[in-house]
């Protein structure tokens, strides 16, 4: 078996587990893995990651949906909002220095993380 396939399968299993376990896409694992382990460029990693998330989120979604653990109405409304937000974000938020934005966002995540632990 080619090492590329093996490495890909390894990344896929790891990212899939995180995706299914936590209800996230798995890009936080796939993107750096594609750059560091496969040697893709950042652009290729983003695009390739999106394609793999289609697969992993489908599997996770089916499992949760079968258990009735999906609020479809909320999902639809948030999806509409996030599409609009992504467009706005790509066009205007970039005026805020990325480092400032990253730091602020990370602090919010830490507060949310602690809140979820409690």
């Amino acid at each position: 078996v080619k090492p590329l396939i093996l490495r890909s399968a390894f990344i896929g299993i790891g990212a899939g587990l995180v995706s299914g376990l936590f209800g996230v896409g798995g890009g936080i694992i796939v993107v750096p893995a594609l750059v560091l382990l496969i040697g893709l460029t950042q652009f290729q990693a983003s695009g390739t990651s999106a394609a793999t998330i289609v697969a992993s989120s489908t599997a996770g979604l089916v499992a949760f949906a079968v258990n009735g653990q999906v609020d479809w109405r909320a999902a639809l409304v948030i999806f509409i909002g996030s599409g609009t937000g992504a467009w706005l974000g790509a066009h205007s938020i970039t005026r805020i220095p990325e480092r400032t934005l990253t730091t602020a966002f990370a602090v919010v995540l830490i507060v949310a993380g602690v809140r979820m632990w409690l």
């Binding site: 399968a9 376990l21 896409g25 893709l40 793999t52 697969a55 992993s56 609020d71 948030i78 993380g113």
Partner: protein, 138 residues
Amino acid sequence: VIEIFGFLALGLFAGAMAAALGVGGGIIFVPALVIVAGFDQHLAQGTSLAIILPTAIVSTLVHARAGRVVWPVAIPIGVAGLIGALLGARAAIALDPELLRRLFGILLVVIAARMLLRARRPYADQINDRSEPGSGPS
């Protein structure tokens, strides 16, 4: 009606952050649904996946048209990802929602710590280090 505007605002914020920082929506959707909307951890995660799937489909189409999807890599990762995600989701569903919520809290702090480290040293530098062996600490 207020609820719908709340979800819309959450989507706007998450989408803008995702586009500006390149982070996925899930790490925003799940905590927001749990903390702000009062969802049960399982319901929040299932709903998050229902938002991520169509987002990823649109994103893949856009990237594929720009030639940024490396299919020989994407396909094996996707197939393995299907299996991994199914196992992960089954484990999540079997877990006590309170324990799962706590684990998610840890995940958030780990991701945030990584983001802070990366903000101090741009990711591009790390990639450049890789292409020039011996020039970086890693």
